[in-house]
């Protein structure tokens, strides 16, 4: 079977030498607890003008490899083996003077977090100006404005006089792109350039970046954890795991024909790809039941939650006595059927988390009603509210913040039982052990503390805690958004199993539409406090009605990939 030649870009017929070639790279860090081999054996090749993506989870060594190429390893890190050849010159151990020469005009960088990467006390224009000046380019106000405008910032002259905190997240990232490309480097290192941004903004920025780099002929080294995004944007994909390159090759080929077990796992679990597969399968009429969550068994229209015209208005103080009204949630109506998973999808500022807080009775609605099992929750007296809490429990996003660092795992899971005075010491311990089994955590973890567990393990503890009171509804507020792809898949599977075993109802808050496709039965799309569209997952994904929904669907990385006919 011959793989079709899908190599897209140009230039390597006339210039056979690679722009960047990394061979057998090893990077070691000296830490308090000994040496850490962050990168053991990395190798990749970037031709001039080519885009290469490094894909991996946290701890894979992908960012470290890229930082080594621009000489920005932290002080305790050093290249312990191998070569980094830039145009044939080995810069792995180059002098700082040489690296300063190269940075900016030969190698540029666009970092990940737009807020922390811009100095808050200098104007944006100044930060662009010093880049141009340091690399010997003209740095007058018009030059600065031109650089900013090319990166897609409107009204560039005025914007240059502003400070970073006056920009939105997307604008800050554009400013960083402007800075990275201002001196027209031959290689641009983009370290997760959009992962801190909203989904619709991500696509715009990546499109723009692609346009700029192809116009300038810049080669791009793209670091990402999202395999779908990598395959969409790059010609070649390099997969890293535990500091090694486990597989590399042309992007589409890697997706269709992954060889290494790790790559196979990634391809199976990546939500954007899974979502795409389901889509394609449905289009072809293939029964993709094994790709979807187990179908909800609810038959009767038993609405455990009915939300009607929910509104939440905050008063923002403008100082000196004035205040304006801000409607975080502005008239939301939907129902949740018992035993199913309903997802609320939206970008930041959509109000989805506020809805969750109101359902949990952590915030009081300004208007509207929430009926739980037919009972208006606003009318509950304190004692009844206390009992209500046993039936609805949350799981939050940040695994590092949702468990009290001072409580060991046993106390954390036991706390709900203690607060509601359930059973005695012995029966509570028994229940904790049962819960640990249910979430597939070893019994020995009871004595451990949150700081000893990984993100996925902490989330499982959070799930165990949520299950302690035998609730009927669990609110998952971005419960898997902070987890690595494979761990995310594990946790989602666990949630699905628990739902079918215990008959749970989930209200799943997320910004990631791709995850929604995998686990939800119904979808509610929110934008700026309003419910834009609602319906079954199939309906919303196959025939979206609203423009915003279409934009969200479009923004899923990998949405534009063409998968061949043989899918399942």
């Amino acid at each position: 079977m011959t793989t079709p030649d899908i190599h897209i870009n140009e230039a390597d017929r006339t210039e056979p030498t690679p722009l960047l070639e990394i061979r057998d790279l090893a990077i070691t860090f000296k830490t308090g607890s000994g040496e850490v081999h962050a990168v053991r054996n990395a190798h990749l090749t970037i031709m001039p003008g080519e885009t290469v993506a490094i894909v991996g989870e946290s701890g894979s060594g992908k960012s470290t490899t890229a930082l080594a190429a621009i000489g920005l390893l932290p002080n305790n890190g050093a290249v312990s083996g191998g070569q980094i050849l830039l145009d044939g010159e080995d810069i792995a151990h180059a002098t700082e003077k040489r690296m300063i020469e190269l940075r900016g005009n030969t190698i540029g960088m666009v970092p990940q977090d737009p807020m922390s990467n811009l100095n808050p006390v200098w104007k944006i224009g100044y930060q662009v100006k010093e880049t141009l000046r340091a690399n010997g380019r003209p740095s007058g106000p018009d030059d600065i404005a031109r650089v900013l405008a090319e990166a897609g910032l409107p009204d560039a002259h005025r914007r240059a006089k502003q400070y970073p905190h006056e920009f939105s997240g997307g604008m800050r990232q554009r400013a960083l792109i402007a800075i990275g490309l201002s001196c027209q480097p031959r290689l641009l290192i983009a370290d997760e350039p959009t992962s801190a941004l909203d989904v619709t903004v991500q696509r715009q920025i990546l499109d723009h970046l692609e346009g700029m780099t192809s116009e300038l002929g810049t080669a791009v080294l793209l670091i990402t954890h999202d395999l779908g995004l990598a395959a969409e944007r790059a010609d070649k994909v390099v997969v890293m795991y535990q500091g090694n390159v486990v597989e590399s090759g042309p992007s589409l080929e890697l997706l269709r024909n992954p060889q290494h077990p790790y790559t196979k796992r990634l391809v199976e679990s990546a939500p954007s790809l899974a979502s795409r597969r389901i889509q394609v399968a449905k289009e072809l009429g293939v029964e993709a039941s094994d790709l979807l969550a187990p179908a909800a068994e609810a038959v009767a229209a038993d609405h455990v939650l009915k939300i009607q015209d929910l509104r939440k208005v905050y008063k923002l103080r403008q100082g000196l006595g004035k205040s304006t009204d801000f409607a975080a949630v502005d008239g939301v109506t939907f129902d949740v059927t018992r035993g199913t998973t309903t997802a609320i999808v939206g970008e930041s500022g959509s109000g989805k988390s506020t809805v969750a807080k109101m359902v949990l009775q952590l915030e009081k609605p300004t208007e509207g009603t929430i009926l739980f099992d037919g009972v208006d929750t606003a009318a509950l007296k304190p004692a009844e509210l206390f009992k209500f809490r046993r039936r609805v429990q949350p799981i939050f996003q940040d695994p590092y913040g949702s468990l009290d660092p001072m409580y060991n795992i046993f106390r954390t899971i036991e706390e709900p039982l203690r607060v509601h005075k359930i059973g005695n010491k012995a029966s509570r311990e028994k229940k904790v052990r049962e819960l640990l089994d249910q979430v597939a955590l070893p019994q020995s973890s009871m004595q451990r503390f949150p700081n000893e567990l990984s993100g996925g393990q902490r989330q499982r503890v959070a799930i165990a805690r949520a299950l302690a009171l035998d609730p009927e509804v669990i609110i998952c507020d971005e419960a898997v958004s902070a987890l690595d792809v494979l761990v995310q898949a594990q946790v989602l599977n666990l949630l699905a199993d628990l739902q079918s075993n215990l008959g749970l109802t989930y209200l799943f808050i997320t910004h990631d539409l791709a995850v929604v496709r995998q686990i939800a039965d119904h979808v509610c799309v929110m934008e700026k406090g309003r419910l834009v569209e609602t319906g079954s997952t199939d309906d919303v994904f196959e025939s979206p009605q609203q423009d915003y929904t279409k934009a969200l669907l479009n923004a899923i990385p990998g949405a534009k990939l063409m998968l061949p006919p043989e899918v399942a």
């Binding site: 190599h7 535990q242 206390f386 009290d404 060991n408 607060v419 004595q447 000893e452 996925g456 761990v487």
Partner: protein, 314 residues
Amino acid sequence: MTSKTNHFVAPVEETPLLATDTLKTDQAPLSLWADAWRKLRRRPLFIISSLLILALIVIALFPGLLSTVPPNDDCQLANSEGGPTVGHPFGFTFQGCDIYSRVVHGTQASLSVGVLSVLCVLIIGVTLGALAGYYGGWVDAVLARLGDIFFALPLVLGALVITQLPALRENKSVWTVVLVISLLAWPQMARITRGAVIEVRNADFVTAARALGVSKFAALVRHVLPNALAPIIVLATLNLGIFIVAEATLSFLGIGLPPSIMSWGNDIAGAQSSIRTKPEILLYPAAALSITVLSFIMLGDAVRDALDPKSRQR
């Protein structure tokens, strides 16, 4: 021929797949405090300072162990400003009292003022700061202004004024000094507590506790405060040293401990007149004071480094 780019696959034996997300079971369970203690134990700064402090506590509680000479009994003017002799290693003060014995017995006053002041500051400052930081609103606003008022009075200045009060002027004792210091120092503790509480109160685990049905106040006590302790402990340890210096300064100015109580500050004040002729009379109590304060400040530094969240393992 195939395309110019090739499909590389690493051999599986060299790059084995680990199970996703396994638990490390080799070490004993390690809470954040246990982790900090482990780091603290190894630091030379901590070891030296805690040994010194332990020694000081022993001396303060049992001065008789170190000095058999009763401090004020033997003062004979004949010995005035005399040099070191057998049984009196530091020599004599202007009044002919044994310096060594006075230094040893003075430990008690200084340490008790320090410890008592820190306790009072903790009680007042942590309570008010926690309430202000947690509940916000008008409680916070009132506290902020109240704190500002006391902040506007630097320690010595404020002490000068407060000790003008007839009640305080007449009855000087350890407790009056403790009162003055606590009154002027609680705002700083309150501010630190407030900051720490504000940082912790928005954490998800607090929200999770509330979603369980834990009351707002119970959440403060059970979840927020235990996690806000780190900066409070650091400040309290540093304050121990700073308050001891403050007491000495106040005694030196004549507005601290009464002369009847033996303290290093009083001794230094009394030694001023002899400074040209016999500086040792001043230097011995000064050295004792400095070493004591230094050990507390070193301890505070070591504790702060150990509790530093940036060096915590994740």
